[in-house]
C-alpha cells in the first residue's frame, strides 16, 4: 500500500467522524509516513511500519469510544465542582438530618431528661421563693 492508498483507506474508515477529526487523523498519519521516508524508508515500508490495517482500525475504534482520561487533575476538578449541584442528592440530606436529630433526642432522653427535669425544679423553686 502506498501513502495515498493508505490515507484514502483511513478516510473511508472514518467517514462517520466530524470532518476536523478525520483531517486531524489524516494529517497525523501523513506526517508519520513522511518522517519514515525522510529516514530512508520507501513509501510502502513507511506505511507498513504504521502497523497492520487491523491494528490501525482497532486503535481508531478505541479512540472513537474512549473518553478523556478521568484521572487527569484538570478533569477531576471539573467533576468535583459539579457535585454540589446534583439535584438528587441534596433534598434527601435535608430531610434525613432533622429526623435523625429527633430520633437521637428521644433515644438519649434518659441521659439529658434527668438534668432538664432537675434544672426545671430548681428554677421553679427559685421563682416560688421570690414570689412568696
Amino acid at each position: 500500500m502506498n501513502k495515498l492508498q493508505f490515507l484514502k483507506a483511513v478516510r473511508e474508515k472514518t467517514s462517520d467522524l466530524p470532518l476536523h477529526e478525520t483531517n486531524h487523523l489524516l494529517e497525523y498519519y501523513a506526517e508519520m509516513i513522511e518522517e519514515a521516508i525522510e529516514e530512508g524508508a520507501s513509501e510502502e515500508e513507511a506505511v507498513a511500519r504504521l502497523g497492520s490495517w487491523e491494528e490501525i482500525c482497532t486503535q481508531i475504534d478505541d479512540f472513537l469510544t474512549s473518553q478523556p482520561i478521568a484521572e487527569c487533575p484538570a478533569v477531576k476538578e471539573q467533576t468535583k465542582k459539579e457535585e454540589p449541584i446534583n439535584p438528587q442528592k441534596m433534598p434527601r440530606k435535608r430531610i434525613s438530618l432533622p429526623m435523625l436529630a429527633v430520633v437521637l433526642l428521644i433515644l438519649t432522653s434518659p441521659v439529658w431528661g434527668a438534668v432538664v427535669l432537675s434544672l426545671g425544679i430548681a428554677v421553679f423553686a427559685v421563682v416560688v421563693s421570690l414570689v412568696m
Binding site: H24, L25, E27, Y28, Y29, E31, M32, E34, E35, A36, E38, R49, L50, G51, E55, I56, Q59, I60, D62, F63, S66, P68, I69, E71, C72, P73, A74, V75
Partner: protein, 106 residues
C-alpha cells in the same frame, strides 16, 4: 500486560517524553519504543486523549516544506506525572510485600 494498565502507563510515558522538551509524534514513538512496544497508530489515541484532558497542547512547525506537529506538556500534564510517581511508591511497597510473601512460601 493488562490493557487498562498498559494504557495508563503509555499515557505517562508520552508525558514523560515531552516533560523536558517539546517533541513530535515520530520522535515520541522512537523514544518510548525503547521501553514499551508502541506503534504510530497506538500513539494517536493517546495523544488525542491527553489533549482532550488538557495534559498537553500542540502546535505546528514547518519542516522540510511540510508541517510537523509538536506536543508541549501543560501544568495539568505535569501534575499527572507527579501523581503517577506518588502512586507508584505505594504500588512498589505492595510489590515488595507480594514478593516477600511468595518467597516465604517457596
Amino acid at each position: 500486560m493488562d490493557i487498562q494498565l498498559k494504557r495508563g502507563l503509555l499515557d505517562v510515558c508520552v508525558l514523560a517524553a515531552i516533560k523536558n522538551k517539546d517533541s513530535y509524534g515520530y520522535a515520541i514513538v522512537r523514544e518510548i519504543g525503547e521501553f514499551v512496544s508502541i506503534s504510530e497508530s497506538t500513539l494517536y489515541p493517546i495523544l488525542r486523549r491527553l489533549e482532550a484532558a488538557d495534559c498537553l497542547t500542540l502546535y505546528s512547525v514547518e519542516h522540510n516544506g511540510r508541517l510537523r506537529k509538536y506536543y508541549r506538556i501543560t501544568d495539568a500534564g505535569r501534575a499527572r506525572l507527579s501523581a503517577f510517581a506518588e502512586e507508584w511508591k505505594e504500588i512498589l511497597a505492595i510489590y515488595q510485600f507480594v514478593i516477600k510473601e511468595e518467597e516465604e512460601h517457596e
